[in-house]
């Protein structure tokens, strides 16, 4: 037991001595050390910045998805990959309102359901004020719950509005301000296209995920689903919410089965629509994020490799420059292991310093990124990324420092002391 403690103490002393010597050596050759570690610095800085950006983006997207609700299911028409409907026009495969009749009775895992009708962008008028780029959508009452879009003023679109095809609308607060409506604008009427609508409520805006593209302001107006047919031929999709995350897939299958029947798709023929869940969307996002991480990881790996070769080169130079020193150290009693440790630790310390500077620069980059793009305000470097960077830098040091260190340890002291 005491022997083990003594050995451990001896090793710790050797370690401490080596670190001390290494720092002295690095300090003596400042310029060379800086140039050598640049590869490592760049590698670590980019890996931390990329990971930080991805983590931030992911947090943002998750946030957004949570505002949707994770039970949300999107239903929209699409051409199948194969079969005769492959080249069908969008118009032939469109949804009709009756495709969804009685869907709730036939799909027990579905909690809520709302058809959505998109009729395109219009210009809205109120007295002499007007606003372009107004997205008009027809909804059913369940939409508010599924999409988590409550009204801050007035009331929601109701079942009665739909049944009686009322010319009523919900507007978003930005549009109210743009058209200079009263703060309490309930009861006022606005003109959209050639139709007049009475405002019954103000709907909260969605937290927007606009990546870089700021462009023109977009406004939203919601009208009863059936009212859209008065404005033209709407493009119909649907949103549903399952009874829980665990039955989302069940709900998707039920909806699929139900729609195949109502759309008269024969057995064996492919679907002409898609039923997607937020979960699936998240999976897709995650796999893209993973791919970006892997690609970035590859680039960073190459950069660390180049940095490592630089380290190896400089360590070889150091060994041949200090051949006499190595000879002397061996003559006064340094074992092979002591020389090996000294040079190995010098390489690792060099890499760690590179890693430290790299993390610092990565932090600056991260702050710059979040400064430029307000969407990425949740960008931060997670602790595991810092640990990962350091262990990478350390492994590079050990891997590429090993060869020069072995070379140093194997030197014959007599030859080394004779070296010019």
């Amino acid at each position: 037991m005491r022997a083990i403690i003594r050995m451990l103490a001896a090793f710790l002393r050797l370690f401490y001595q080596s670190v001390y010597l290494a720092l002295g050596q690095i300090w003596t050759n400042k310029t060379r050390s800086i140039l050598t570690t640049i590869g490592i610095v760049i590698g670590v800085a980019s890996v931390t910045a990329v990971i930080a950006a991805l983590t931030g983006l992911k947090a943002k997207v998750l946030n957004q998805v949570e505002s949707f609700g994770t039970n949300t299911i999107f239903i929209f028409p699409t051409q199948p990959d194969k079969g005769p409907m492959r080249h069908a026009s969008w118009w032939t495969i469109r949804f009709l309102p009756e495709h969804f009749d009685d869907i709730l009775e036939h799909c027990p895992s579905v909690e809520r359901f709302s058809r959505i009708a998109g009729v395109g962008r219009y210009t809205a008028h109120y007295r002499e004020k007007s606003a372009e780029n107004v997205e008009v959508m027809g909804i059913e009452p369940a939409y508010h719950e599924i999409q988590n879009r409550p009204v801050s003023l007035g009331r929601k679109i109701s079942v009665i509005d739909n049944m009686q095809v009322r010319p009523v609308c919900l507007i978003d607060p930005k549009l109210r301000d743009e058209l200079r409506l009263d703060r309490d604008c309930i009861g006022q009427t606005i003109r959209i296209g050639h139709h007049t609508f009475r405002i019954v409520g103000v709907i909260e805006r969605q937290p927007e995920l606009q990546l870089g593209e700021s462009g023109q302001e977009r406004y939203e107006v919601f009208i009863p689903f059936r009212t859209t047919f008065k404005m033209g031929k709407p493009w119909i999709m649907a949103f549903a919410a399952s009874k829980g995350t665990e039955v989302t897939e069940e709900a998707q299958a039920e909806i699929s089965f139900f729609l195949r029947r109502t759309r008269n798709i024969k057995p064996g023929e492919p679907d002409t629509f898609r039923v997607e869940s937020v979960k699936r969307f998240m999976d897709t996002f995650n796999s893209i994020a993973l791919m970006v991480t892997l690609v970035a990881g590859g680039v960073v790996g190459i950069s660390l490799l180049v940095g490592g070769v630089g380290i190896m080169n400089i360590m070889l130079v150091s060994v041949s420059e200090r051949t006499r020193e190595i000879g002397l150290r061996k003559a006064v009693g340094a074992k092979k292991s002591a020389i090996l440790t000294q040079f190995l630790i010098e390489a690792v310390v060099l890499c760690f310093i590179g890693g430290l500077v790299g993390v610092g620069i990565g932090q600056c980059l991260t702050m710059i990124i979040s400064g430029i793009n307000p969407v990425l305000d949740m960008v931060y470097i997670p602790a595991w990324a810092i640990l990962l960077s350091f262990s990478f830098a350390g492994s590079v040091g050990i891997f590429f420092g090993m060869f020069p260190a072995i070379k140093a340890a194997r030197l014959d002291p007599i030859e080394a002391l004779r070296h010019e």
Binding site: R6, A10, R13, Q17, G24, Q25, T28, R324, E325, G327, L328, R329, K330, A331, V332, G333, A334, K335, K336, S337, A338, P413, I414, L417
Partner: protein, 257 residues
């Protein structure tokens, strides 16, 4: 060839015993006998000069005695232990504990202070920070550099550098001090200072081996070994060495004037 004569009166305890030691280098197909059957015994507190022309094998003998090199055949006992069968790691420890080297070109590390240079061998043995510091400081005082411990080698004169190197060799209390041409890079006045230091260390009980080709350096030793072609050619105490007697006679002749 003269018969070798051993210094038995002082050698109560043997430190070095070489028996039929050879060292053969292979250069291509040729075998070079750098050491060719060396027999040598060295007692405690001896002061020996090893002389010989270059190529006589004195450097090889030095390397073997210092455990930097291994004998090809024969037996080398240091402090009663046979070193020929020892592992590299054990030899490193022996060098650390028993042997102090002094080189012609000092071999100080430029970026370290005199004190740190002297502390260096202690790093490789079991010594704490404070004991290292104190031992190095004491030994520097012993060689007369107590006021120079913070100086870097480039702030020291040649003689002072060699004194630091001697201090470094002494810091582990070695059984033998091996000096390879210790005055080779110094002017004659500084050389005398260094040789006086060796005399002082000898009087304090240190066993010293100096390898040199300079007659006046060898005259400080109490025993002189001449080497030629890898063999010991003569091994005489100082008062029997013709060179010493000649010098003494010259001195004696000069004195009355």
């Amino acid at each position: 060839m003269r018969t070798s004569q051993k210094m038995t009166e002082k050698a109560e305890k043997l430190i070095i015993r070489l028996q039929e030691v050879t060292r053969i280098y292979k250069v291509g197909v040729e075998h070079i006998h750098a050491l060719d059957g060396i027999n040598l015994e060295l007692g405690e507190n001896e002061y020996v000069a090893v002389m010989g022309a270059s190529g006589s094998g004195k450097s090889t003998l030095m390397n073997v005695l210092g455990c930097l090199d291994r004998a090809t055949s024969g037996c080398y006992e240091l402090d009663g232990q046979d070193t020929t069968k020892m592992s590299d790691a054990t030899l490193a420890r022996i060098r650390n504990e028993r042997i102090g080297f002094v080189f012609q070109s000092f071999e100080l590390l430029g970026q370290l202070s005199a004190l740190k240079n002297v502390e260096m061998p202690l790093i490789y043995s079991q010594n704490g920070w404070w004991s290292r510091h104190m031992r190095a400081k004491n030994v520097l005082e012993r060689v007369g550099l107590g006021d120079r411990i913070k100086h870097k080698p480039n702030q020291l004169s040649g003689g002072e550098k060699q004194r630091v190197a001697i201090a470094r060799a002494l810091v582990c209390n070695p059984s033998i001090l091996l000096a390879d041409e210790p005055t080779g890079n110094l002017d004659s006045k500084t050389s005398e200072g260094i040789l006086d230091l060796f005399d002082q260390l000898y009087r304090e009980g240190q066993t010293i081996i100096i390898v040199t080709h300079e007659e006046h350096v060898a005259l400080h030793a109490r025993r002189t070994i001449h080497m030629r072609d890898g063999r010991i050619y003569s091994d005489l105490p100082r008062d029997q060495d013709p060179a010493y007697n000649t010098t003494m006679q010259e001195d004696a002749r000069e004195e009355p004037e």
